[in-house]
């Protein structure tokens, strides 16, 4: 069975305020879906309904086809989640908290011990395994929470802004963990307002604004939305580029639709076509012996689509 989560007409109202408005979204298979949106868009509200922390005003949330509202125990059996920054009983140690979590999930004692060591190692908390959680910083607690979410090797992982409270190194580690998780047959549904994080780890993205789903698509298609067949590529050189070389040699290449210079050694090229054309352009740039240091597709496509879609919503 392919892991799946599905929202069917999922709606949440708080009095007169509609936090989520008839969300219809199905994510299926082993992939990472980024759930994007500005503050107050309804991201956390959605994830809370998937974990039964709050209840839908209308519609239903399903995990692997099981209604979370009707049978939360069975629905959440396959799910590891991290919503906001949970607190764990302060007198417990990470080992005990994970023991409790594993036991409540029905894991065998030996496996709990093995997995506890593994996941705490993964979140770099091994040396704190027997210290009381009450003494931990917010970032350390979040690491333990991530470990708890991964303890049972769940096939559906729901993460609500998992890098909240972490320092830059911790954020990078979380991304690394999520990337590794993707290698398993897992469905990861992760909310974030950090676009670079989503671009870095997600395969697909859903954009939510004011409770409404604006789009859900693959990252590649999102880039496509922005520029059709033209993709932005950033190239960095070891030496400042001469204007003549730029307009003459580089600008005249058939793959280059247009170019702009960010600084003397860095240019952004609008490249016609897809990966094949990019590869050909890279070869040509390298053959020019201009001191090419890096060549990568601009990550700003998602950001531009995000801002465009959100501003359309504002209008």
């Amino acid at each position: 069975m392919r892991p799946s989560i599905e929202a069917v007409g999922l709606t949440k109202r708080f009095g007169a305020f509609t936090a989520l408005d008839h969300l219809n979204l199905k994510v299926e298979g082993a992939k990472c879906m980024g759930f994007l949106g500005p503050n107050g868009a309804g991201k956390t509200t959605t994830l809370k309904m998937f974990t039964n922390l709050i209840f839908p005003s209308e519609g239903e949330a399903f995990i692997n086809g099981i209604s979370v509202r009707d049978d939360r125990k069975r629905a959440l059996e396959v799910c590891g989640d991290l919503i906001e920054t949970p607190e764990i009983y302060p007198s417990l140690t990470p080992r005990e908290a994970l023991e409790m979590s594993g036991a409540l999930r029905g894991m065998r004692a030996g496996e709990i011990a093995a997995r506890t060591a593994t996941v705490l190692e993964e979140v770099k908390m091994s040396e704190w395994v027997d210290q009381k959680i009450g003494r931990f910083s917010k970032g350390m607690k979040q690491r333990v929470n991530i470990a708890a979410a991964l303890l049972s090797d769940p096939e559906v992982v729901i993460l609500d802004e998992p890098s909240t409270g972490l320092d830059p190194r911790g954020m990078a580690e979380v991304r690394s963990i999520v990337r590794e998780l993707k290698k398993g047959r897992r469905l990861i549904f992760m909310s974030s307002h950090i676009l670079s994080e989503v671009v870095d780890v997600c395969d697909e993205v859903a954009l939510l604004d004011r409770g409404k789903l604006l789009f859900a698509d693959t990252l590649a298609n999102v880039s496509q939305r922005l520029g059709g067949d033209v993709r932005a590529v950033e190239a960095e050189f070891a030496f400042p580029l001469d204007e003549g070389i730029l307009s003459g040699q580089i600008g005249s290449l058939p793959e280059v639709a247009s170019w702009s210079r960010s600084d003397p050694q860095r240019i952004t090229l609008q490249v016609k076509g897809g990966p094949v054309e990019q590869a050909r352009l890279l070869e040509q740039l390298a053959s020019m012996r201009l001191g090419l240091l890096s060549f990568r597709e601009s990550r700003s496509a998602l950001e531009e689509v995000y801002l465009r879609e959100i501003s359309v919503g504002d209008a």
Binding site: I54, T85, E99, D153
Partner: protein, 297 residues
């Protein structure tokens, strides 16, 4: 249902062994697991030290009073000794244990955000409620037993082996005290489910039991001339009955100065046990009903 072999070298992807995850335990097993860890948390917490301090303080005061006054009616007879020391103090200890261990049991899940950790697990809210109730009950029983041991220590000192002559009534009294504890904890949990702020839950219960019920009791007896049988703080008097005997249900006396008629009520066993069981059941249903509907917004 869980993914198994994955090719990644990362620790997060180290697969579980076959059969590592059994079926998610049933409601009762999960409640027992949760209560075990919650109880462990209680044992290590400052609140437990506070509760033990209260018990020791109450025990010390009673010990000092008995040692200083050596009331003959008390230290001559085991039934009277336990009736005076144990029965009076037990209701007090139970009240404080209920407030300290139960006051924020549910409200704290919302206020401290510990609920976000628990509720993401495949566990029913009923189970969480039951597990936390069991843990609070166990912690309260530990406090109550400590108080009993202090009283028994005193009894051994004054009565020697005679302290054991009231073992039967003492056990019966302890059993009623446990029933009272069940009911009071249920009541506290109900209010803990009603509020998302621990302080409100603790304050409401403390004010109700320390002042509110006393005022209601006075008003009901003096103005309505009715027995306040429905008050938990009234029926807890039956804790002493196995040791002191059952007093007359309604006692009519006259004020020697004003000549006004005075009516004193004493709960019967049936009333007491019925009301305690009633409180226990109704507050459990009510508390669960509220907790099931509370949202972690």
């Amino acid at each position: 249902m869980n993914a198994t072999a994955t090719p990644a070298g990362s620790a997060a992807n180290v697969p579980l062994a076959d059969g590592a995850i059994g079926t998610v335990p049933g409601t009762f097993s999960q409640a027992m697991i949760l209560s075990r860890y919650q109880f462990r948390d209680y044992l290590r917490s400052r609140r437990f030290i506070l509760m033990i301090s209260i018990v020791i303080a109450v025990g010390a005061i009673l010990t000092t009073v008995v040692a200083y006054f050596r009331p003959s009616g008390l230290i001559d007879n085991a039934d009277d000794f336990y009736g005076g020391l144990w029965a009076g103090g037990a209701a007090f200890v139970i009240l404080f244990a209920g407030i300290i261990f139960g006051g924020d049991a549910i409200a704290g899940e919302f206020q401290n955000k510990t609920g976000y950790f628990l509720m993401g697990l495949p566990i029913k809210r009923t189970t969480v409620y039951a597990g936390k109730y069991l843990a609070a009950l166990l912690a309260s029983v530990v406090s109550l037993v400590l108080f009993l041991l202090i009283v028994m220590g005193n009894a051994l000192f004054y009565l020697g082996s005679g302290a054991f002559s009231a073992a039967g009534p003492l056990i019966a009294s302890f059993a009623i005290a446990l029933l009272y504890l069940l009911a009071l904890l249920g009541f506290v949990f109900l209010f803990s489910s009603l509020f998302k702020t621990s302080l409100y839950a603790v304050l409401v219960v403390a004010v109700l039991f320390l002042f509110g019920f006393s005022i209601i009791q006075t008003v009901v007896i003096d103005l309505a001339h009715t027995e306040p049988w429905f008050l938990l703080s009234y029926v807890n008097a039956i804790i002493a009955y196995p040791l002191t005997g059952v007093p007359e249900h309604i006692v009519h006396t006259t004020n020697p100065f004003t000549r006004a008629a005075i009516t004193t009520y004493n709960p019967t066993y049936l009333e007491g046990i019925g009301v305690m069981v009633g409180y226990w059941v109704l507050t459990a249903v009510g508390g669960l009903f509220l907790f099931q509907r509370e949202e972690f917004t």
